[in-house]
Amino acid sequence: MNANIEIALTVNGTARSVTVPAGETLLETLRERLALTGAKRGCNQGVCGACTISVDGRPVRGCLTLTANCADSEIVTIEGMAIDGALGRIQLALEATGAVQCGFCTSGMVIAAEALLQANPHPSAAEIQTGISGNLCRCSGYRMIVDAVLLAAAAEER
């Protein structure tokens, strides 16, 4: 195969086709080719979590995922988390608790927290702390974010 590869994938429900070099990360493809800048480059090493996106239903690091390896994958980014403009449960809870500060970690945090609730609908505070431990936030001290996930879980129950 040659250096540029054509990849068909679905991004936020829309079929897309991109031609990328083999080493291009999904984060670069989303940001530079598809103008989806919600996922952020915070470290490009998979540590900070600001680039967390969902691939085939699992949250992963956009910066550690090669686009060439994503043929036919279903990608969901923060831009796809509000359906028809209606915020999802995590987003609503983050808004209600006032947990959002600078916002740079928020995209990844929403994706990671949503995946956590899908796997564990009634997490304890400690389980939430573990679940979002791969998403660094330098502003909030995490307390309100954890409260927001608890709130989102409780809201679901009602």
Partner: protein, 776 residues
Amino acid sequence: MDDGVSSASVGRSISRLETREKLTGAAKYIADLARPNMLHAAILGSPHAHARILSYNTTAARAVPGVHAVQTGADFPDGRMGAFVKDEPPIAQEKVRYIGEPVAVVAADNEAIARRAAQLIEIEYEELPAIVTPEDALAGNAALVHEDLANYFMVYDAVRYGNVLSETTLSEGDIEKGFAEADIVVEGEFETPAQAHVAIEPCGALAEIDDAGRVTLWSANQSVFRVQANVCESLKLPMSKLRSLTPRIGGGFGNKMEAHVQPLVVQLAIVTRRPVKLILSREEDFETVRVRHPFKIRMRTGARKDGTLVARDTEVILDGGAYGDDSPGVLGYSMLMSRGPYAIPHARAHGRLVYTNKIRSGAFRGFGNPQMQFAGETQIDEIASQLGIDPIEIRLKNALRGEGPWFLGQKLASNGFVECLERLRDMSDWKNRHRAVATAGKRRGFGIAAGAHISGLLGTGAIVRLLEDGTVVLNTGAVDIGQGSDTVLAQICAEALKVPLDRVAVASPDTDGSPYNWGTTASRVTFTTGRSVAMAAAEVETQIKELAADMLECAAADLELRPGGFVGIKGVPDKQLPLFVVSLQAHWRRGGPIIGHHSWVFDRPAVDPKRAVATGMPFRQIGVYSFAAQAVEIEIDEVTGKSEVIKAWSAVDVGRAINPASVEGQMDGGFVQGLGFALTEEVVFDQGRIVNPTLMDYKVPTARDVPHTMKTAIVEAPEPDGPFGAKGVGEIGLVPTPAAIANAIADATGARLRRLPMTPERVLDAMLPAEDADAP
């Protein structure tokens, strides 16, 4: 109260105005911006800590297809920038002074090409002796980091010589007499490391030049005005030729206050005549921007048997790194904080700030205060423990009360410190603390520490405009770096004009159109800018009333603003006008649009010459004081020495909480940043090279490393100078934190740690001196 129209704005926990933007990924940060025809830039960093640049060879880099410009120190203007001392060139010129210092910069079609080309630049160096520690810097025959120090322009009267950039001496009372009166004296040496800010957004900038040669610059920043000043000083550009703007900012903590890559992109935009964007990698952000000052502190505190503090003597050396940046301010301010929030009659502080061949130290949330309280609050705990006095009681006994005054003589117009201590005692159930049972294999401890921090400093302004339809635009030039100042300032404006919050729009800072604002720093925006907003709104109110008086045929003094956007006659409920009617009158019939503006600089002197002597203080007027006390409960693993904070409590006097949830957010976030400083964070240097410039190796706390139980009690001792009584809260959350944790470790183990971070290794060493070091 929340009827949707007339509800008050101040005192409500309103989510940030831009929350939805941030929740949907729509918010645009510097890396998200693009301009037509834009180039991407990359830097080449110095491999040497200290070396003379002999020659550049950029031929290979220029030959790379897609490269549009390569610029080195030889191509840049030779201006010098700096907040207190103008010592820093836009890019390394003639010499390099730290490893990673930008020596060349490339603009190319994309980032990958620019990075590859930068690596092809050849530079010939002559290595010079590297000054990597303050001891090196102070040695008799030390090489000079800046040979021209004596000729640099400085904005204050500094004592400077050799590698000493600034020396500050403060004293009040008679230190010898004070120690003579003391029954016990504790003495110790304390050491704190460089801490990295680690805003999750790395630094970056985008510059674009127009046909007339005027540059527009967007950048990750804490002050569009400091950006403008730094770029123009270093590139010798008239300030009128540069417009500085801001996108959303992904956290700052001090890192984005002074310049980072802005001069580089402006130069490239001028040379290429195309838009140029440069976003630092995380490693470059660690290696080239700035760090918290490493401190070496020698402190002595004396007390009488009854716990009365009588004397404190503090000697400090700050490692300033290669350039002055905000360092003289940090030195002077930390000296001013050396006495803590206590009435110690005899106090002296002497500090030196030295240049070294390392990344510059600069502003970082706390501005030298957390380091100083780490020492001071540890010693108060030691005295309490030696005298058998409860740690909260000894602080209450010595607390500054009422007007104070603060060290050097400034009177306190608002002071909630005693209430903070009392609230903390209650909320943490302090007296029953030792009933808690440690988990098996752990030791449990409780610690408390306190502190105060200013809000204030330098110029600020606000323009409040009433639009034709009665809505409002607020323009302050204050950059919201994520801490929520746009929301708080809008709340102040809405409250002052009694209009619903959604009728107030906040203009994005713009050096062309915003009133000057020194910056988002010094916990100052709510207090200084908020005050200007309130005053500007008051001017709008006056103009509204003058017009309405004519329209309603009454005296202006008989009018009042009414909730929901009305002006009416006091006591006559049905005599009122909607503000849009008044505004239309102003726009089309009389006087022109209603615009209120106000400018202010905090104007009370820090030093009372009748009480105190101060030399080398870079600020004359500083600000008003917020107070805080913190308690933590920790567990220490007996096997490894690793500490875990289980619970944390804070009581904070903010004058008036304009937005209580934001106050809590600042306290939580400050506490956790302080927890990282206390336990895990250290920028490690090896001969000037940063060993851990990645998030793999430099560890900030994750959600699992912090307590979920973090409680904040808000104390409101109204500040007469503040808007609705408010004062700042941005930094105080971490001021007491390292000391509180150190005191808890001492409570749990009996061991006093005087060096940060308090790693498992250091705690275990202190707990079990050499007890089990034997071989099999």
